[in-house]
């Protein structure tokens, strides 16, 4: 029985995220006002037999805990 899972990886709060800043600055030029706190991260989708392994997989490879936070979203 495999589980479809999503892992969201984000830059840690407090660490400057130049990609997020670039997106945020581009929006007013397109006429979209009032958007703040933009951060750009990664989405990783996978099928896994043992979802209990996911935290270790995230800490060891998918995210670098020094600079990134991760969130595991399992689909039913």
């Amino acid at each position: 029985m495999t589980t479809r899972a999503r892992v969201l990886v984000r830059p840690k709060a407090g660490i400057l995220d130049p990609q997020g800043v670039a997106v945020e600055r581009a929006l007013p030029a397109l006429g979209f006002e009032g958007v703040a706190n933009v951060h750009v991260g990664r989405l990783i989708e996978l099928d896994i037999d043992e979802p209990s392994q996911l935290p270790a997989i995230c800490e060891k490879l998918l995210a670098n805990p020094l600079i990134e936070d991760f969130e595991i979203v399992s689909e039913p």
Partner: protein, 222 residues
């Protein structure tokens, strides 16, 4: 001194690093293939610049798990000299051999230019042939060169003298914390830097300052 230069899929400065090592009087150098866990008896390891494994996931993240790196980690833990340049620096941070991480440049651009770096700590294995306060002219070329470490780690790096090179005043090209251009581990036998010393070994290219890192390693090894 026998240098070994690691070649990953996507390494691009491996040959320049090999040639730089070979300029050290009395030294020889050979390539080490990423899939081969045997270090072939080399006495120092260089992890060169490039885009190992396409920089997939995060810079340095995949290279860290290659067979050669498991051996490099054991070599470093036994006190062997390991130099990581640019992508090599990123790989060493991902491998946990050096503190911190390298983030995208503050200006989000690829930066390729000559920079001045100041020797903060001479007479270390990688700075044996330098003087404190000496300024070296070495090129940088990277997109993710912003050195980051948590405040407590930066404090201990400063207090323990692990910062060997800093970008000179107003020359920090990427937003690195504390202007850090190159750091060692606590034991001093692993060194990573973003500037490319292997591109500064030939008078025709404008500077030979980079050669001092390679000669220092040979002198430290004795």
């Amino acid at each position: 001194m026998r240098f070994g230069v690691v070649r990953f899929p996507g390494s691009c400065d491996d040959v320049d690093a090999l040639l730089a090592c070979q300029r050290v009087p009395g030294a020889s150098a050979q390539l080490l293939w990423h899939g081969d866990a045997d270090l072939h008896g080399v006495e120092a390891v260089v992890i060169p610049g490039g885009f190992s494994y396409g920089d997939y996931l995060r810079v340095g993240a995949i290279a860290r798990f290659s067979p050669v790196m498991e051996s490099v980690i054991r070599f470093a833990e036994a006190g062997g000299l390991v130099l990581g340049i640019c992508n090599g620096f990123q790989v060493l941070c991902e491998a946990g051999l050096l503190p911190g991480a390298l983030l995208p440049n503050v200006n989000r651009r690829f930066i390729c230019r000559q920079v001045n770096v100041e020797v903060v700590r001479a007479r270390m294995p990688f700075s044996a042939d330098m003087a404190d306060g000496e300024v070296l002219s070495i090129p940088v070329k990277h997109t993710s060169g912003r050195y980051y470490a948590p405040a407590a780690v930066l404090e201990s790096l400063e207090a323990d003298g692990q910062i060997v090179l800093r970008y000179a005043h107003d020359a920090n090209p990427n937003g690195s914390s504390n202007d850090i251009a190159g750091v060692t581990n606590a034991a001093g036998n692993v060194f990573g830097l973003m500037p490319h010393p292997e591109h500064a070994v030939e008078p025709l290219s404008g500077s030979v300052d980079g050669l001092k890192i390679f000669t220092s390693m040979a002198h430290a090894h004795g």
